[in-house]
């Protein structure tokens, strides 16, 4: 194709492949590419944390020589059917509302996009507040970072996840602000797609965390 014919033929901009935005030459768009590479590295980061948790758990023996996980003094504290379950439902719900925001912007429904983005943003903040409240309850019960391998691994895993949620909430806030400024449309919303990939990833990691820490 010559330069002239290229100029006459408008490129098929952002033709979706696998539902994700691509650039005019058929390649994947830069924000999506960057986010997928980032998420790939994050998968291995969390895999390392999970592996450390399993390794610690497998080798754990308490002061009395008993191999019990969680240790008996924390067994009654970690109740999955408590505030943490509410936080989990809220985080899963936030992924649903974010996906609704994506669908809305894809069909150029900016009002629906902003409404769902705002709800997602608020749900993310509520999750963080609930996690902070749950931490305060655990501290009151005497479970801290210094409570042996169990306390250390619990707070390391959930703390790093909380930090990622905090980063995600900032990302959602930026996307929401840009959306309110009218910067996104059905043709230009790569940043929204990238932020949603990250948020869904954080959600999946939490479901694994919650299942492993509270049920396994």
């Amino acid at each position: 194709m010559t330069a002239d014919s290229h100029a006459l033929t408008p490129p098929a901009e952002h033709s979706p492949v696998a539902g994700l935005a691509h650039d005019a030459r058929g390649g994947i768009s830069n924000p999506i590419l960057g986010m997928i590479l980032f998420i790939t590295s994050e998968i291995m980061f969390f895999a390392g944390l999970f592996a450390a948790y399993f390794s610690t758990r497998a080798n754990f023996v308490d002061a009395n020589g008993v191999k019990e996980w969680p240790p008996s003094q924390f067994d009654h504290i970690l109740n999955p059917f408590s505030i943490i379950l509410v936080a989990t439902v809220i985080l899963v719900l936030s992924s649903v509302t974010l996906q609704m925001a994506i669908w809305a912007i894809r069909r150029d429904d900016r009002r629906g996009f902003l409404r769902n983005m705002a709800v997602t943003f608020v749900l993310g903040i509520i999750f963080l507040l609930l996690q902070a409240y749950d931490y305060s309850l655990l501290f009151e019960e005497g479970m801290t970072m210094g409570s042996g391998p169990f306390g250390t691994t619990y707070y390391t895993l959930t703390g790093f996840h909380g930090a990622h949620v905090f980063g995600g909430v900032i990302m959602l806030g930026v996307v929401l602000y840009r959306g309110m400024s009218g910067q996104f449309s059905s043709r230009h919303h790569d940043a929204v797609e990238a932020a949603s990939l990250y948020w869904h990833f954080v959600d999946v990691v939490w479901i694994l965390l919650f299942s492993i820490l509270y049920f396994l």
Binding site: G27, T40, I43, A47, G48, S55
Partner: protein, 64 residues
């Protein structure tokens, strides 16, 4: 589209790693060992990560 660029190859790469993880886990029991979940976790995660990298290579390359 060249056959190697078919999206199913992405899944094959991930499944290969996960299959190795499954053999590593299930093979331990008949051999008299405990399942080593740390290694199984890493292999599973590596399968997902490798699939994503393969997706980036396939979907990210231009058509020409």
């Amino acid at each position: 589209m060249h056959p190697i660029r078919h999206p199913r190859n992405v899944a094959i790469i991930g499944i290969a790693f996960i299959a190795v993880g499954a053999i590593y886990a299930l093979g331990a029991v008949p051999l008299g060992y405990e399942i080593e979940w740390a290694g199984v976790t890493m292999l599973g995660a590596l399968g997902i990560a490798m699939s994503l990298m393969a997706y980036v290579l396939i979907a990210g390359s231009s058509e020409d």
